[in-house]
């Protein structure tokens, strides 16, 4: 099986700090992969290099066999990567429907009916039907996170990168989120950066653990849970929380 996304010796230093150091990662089509690690492990820097927000110091990023290391962010999105921000980033003053329409329109073009149908379908999936005309800024925080997710889905990506999607969500909202991600199986691959271990263990096919910029371990959830090094570095105190 050939990988959808691969990185080879991907590295980034900020001054003398090695934020990410020679990371090799292979993610298959349709796979749900979680990327975990303590704060400051380099997770956000790593995914920022995947989407093109941060330029690597060295190493390569391959998507569907093409070297995309030097491509600008918008070109990567056109190839099928989508990214949702850790800190909610929506078009605050525009209506909810227009936020999603902007995401859908790049793919569907000027076919108004198709865009409207996609907007309705996507908002329905994340449970925001009925809020189309509200300005995004007037949504609650949890609903803004869902809107962000809807904007990712409306792009029909082949790889959806979710940067801490459940941060700040209530328990029922997290349940909704988990159910939604399960429905995406087979539709798109997902790279999930997440602190909530319950979410990670339940959703991920495989887990990659990053610590101090290097890959500490990689494997199935059960294996990661049992890995002594991971427990020492990260899970130790949080596993039962």
């Amino acid at each position: 099986m050939s990988a959808l996304l691969s990185t080879r010796a991907l590295s980034r230093s900020f001054g003398g700090l090695r934020a990410v150091h020679e990371v090799d990662l292979d993610l298959g089509p349709g796979e749900v992969r979680a990327l975990i690690g303590p704060n400051g492990a380099g997770k956000t820097t790593f995914v920022s290099m995947l989407i093109g927000r941060v330029a690597p110091s060295s190493g390569r990023v391959l998507f569907d066999g093409q070297d995309i290391t030097r491509r600008p962010a918008h070109a990567r999105v056109r190839l099928g990567l989508a990214y949702t921000f850790q800190i909610t980033s929506v078009f605050a003053r525009l209506p909810v429907a227009e936020n999603v329409a902007l995401a859908a329109r790049r793919r569907l073009g000027r076919d108004r009916a198709a865009v409207a149908a996609e907007v309705a379908r996507t908002l329905g999936r994340v449970g925001l039907t009925g809020r189309e005309k509200i300005a995004a800024a007037d949504l609650s925080y949890g609903h803004q996170r869902l809107l962000e997710l809807a904007m990712g889905l409306a792009q029909a990506p082949r790889l959806l990168i979710l940067d801490e999607p459940t941060q700040g969500l209530s328990e029922p909202e997290i349940e909704t989120f988990k159910a939604l991600v399960r429905t995406l199986a087979g539709e798109t691959a997902i790279l999930l950066i997440e602190h909530n271990m319950g979410v990670v263990m339940e959703l991920a096919d495989r887990i990659t653990v990053l610590d101090a910029g290097v890959v500490l371990a990689e494997g199935a959830p059960a294996a990661i849970r049992a890995d002594a090094r991971v427990q020492a570095a990260y899970l130790g105190t949080a596993a039962d929380a």
Binding site: H74, A92, L102, A103, R105, R106, R107, R110
Partner: protein, 313 residues
């Protein structure tokens, strides 16, 4: 249907302006003709500032590029008014492409400063080329040359209708543009450029397109101004001619199609009426501007949109 109502509103404005041609007294008739050309300039500015969110402090260079791109070939090469209108618009298009490619390497305040500096350079160039441009004194385009398609543009009524034709074309062009997917992307860039980039839109190219379109429309207004009123002078390239469209758009409502016209008209008549009452008319104008900024920060049309008509583009 909302689209119908919108087109109705803007068609209504054009119809009122057309009717005014036949009823306005001579003085106001000339003023409104001037306002329509300058409102075209403001609409060009609004594409970049109001819709794309890029604040330029140097649009006078595009207005002047149109004006001199028309006047120079007419004066020195004997070019007819029609072709000269095209060289004027073309000059502004080329200049805005060059300036856009360089200035868009910056953002925010730096973009304001860079456009201001380019505009100062353009103004000084006009003064330095005094042998041809006659500097501050400017060049007069003789009445006999101001013929376009057999129409005499020195005739007040013809001039008024020509100004209305230009104004209407740009008004409906803007209305069309901002309802197109590409216009929506410009608004998205204004609201959150990083997000627009990560939805797969090439934001640099969209911003460059907005600079060129905005500069070209401003240049068309400058060329028309020179042709309609028979004069091109360096004062049109000075800084205050970069500030005017910003004020007009802010007053009328940035990011609204009809706002630039309302702002230009309001400002013109405010100064006109108060200057008849008191020598301190600029003080009155200043106070009116401060009040409007305090109580209607989104401008006249912006306030209409906020209170009564949320879908107004």
């Amino acid at each position: 249907m909302r689209g119908g109502r919108l087109i109705g509103l803007h068609l209504g404005l054009v119809a009122v302006l057309f009717a005014l041609n036949f009823v306005l007294p001579a003085y106001s008739h000339g003023t409104v003709a001037r306002v329509m050309v300058l409102a075209t300039y403001a609409m060009g500015y609004n594409i970049l500032f109001g819709y794309t969110g890029l604040l330029s402090l140097g649009h006078a260079m595009f207005f002047a590029a149109g004006m001199y791109g028309l006047a120079m070939p007419m004066t020195h090469l004997g070019l007819g008014a029609g072709p000269a209108l095209l060289t004027g618009i073309g000059s502004a298009a080329v200049l805005s492409l060059g300036v856009g490619l360089l200035a868009l390497r910056t953002r925010g305040v730096a973009f304001m400063i860079v456009t201001l500096m380019f505009s100062q350079a353009a103004w000084l160039t006009i003064l330095l080329a005094g042998r041809w441009t006659r500097g501050d004194e400017g060049v007069v385009i003789p009445q006999a040359d101001r013929m376009l398609l057999g129409l005499d543009l020195s005739d007040p009524s013809t001039r008024y209708l020509a100004a209305l034709a230009l104004f209407s074309a740009v008004l409906f062009g803007t209305l069309w543009l901002v309802r197109q997917p590409i216009g929506r992307v410009l608004v998205a860039i204004r609201e959150n450029e990083d997000r627009a980039e990560l939805l797969g839109y090439d934001t640099f190219r969209h911003k460059l397109g907005a600079v060129v379109l905005s500069g070209t429309v401003s240049g068309a207004a400058g060329a028309a101004y020179g042709l309609f009123f028979g004069y091109a002078g360096a004062s049109f390239a000075e800084t205050h001619y970069s500030i005017f469209p910003l004020l007009w758009v802010l007053l009328g409502g940035a990011g609204t199609v009809i706002g630039p016209f309302l702002g230009t008209l309001f400002m013109f008549y405010l100064i006109d009426l108060t200057s008849g009452l008191t020598p301190a008319y600029m003080l009155v104008a200043g106070v009116a501007l401060v009040l409007l900024t305090l109580f209607a920060p989104q401008g006249l049309a912006g306030e209409i949109r906020r209170r009564w008509w949320r879908g107004l583009p």
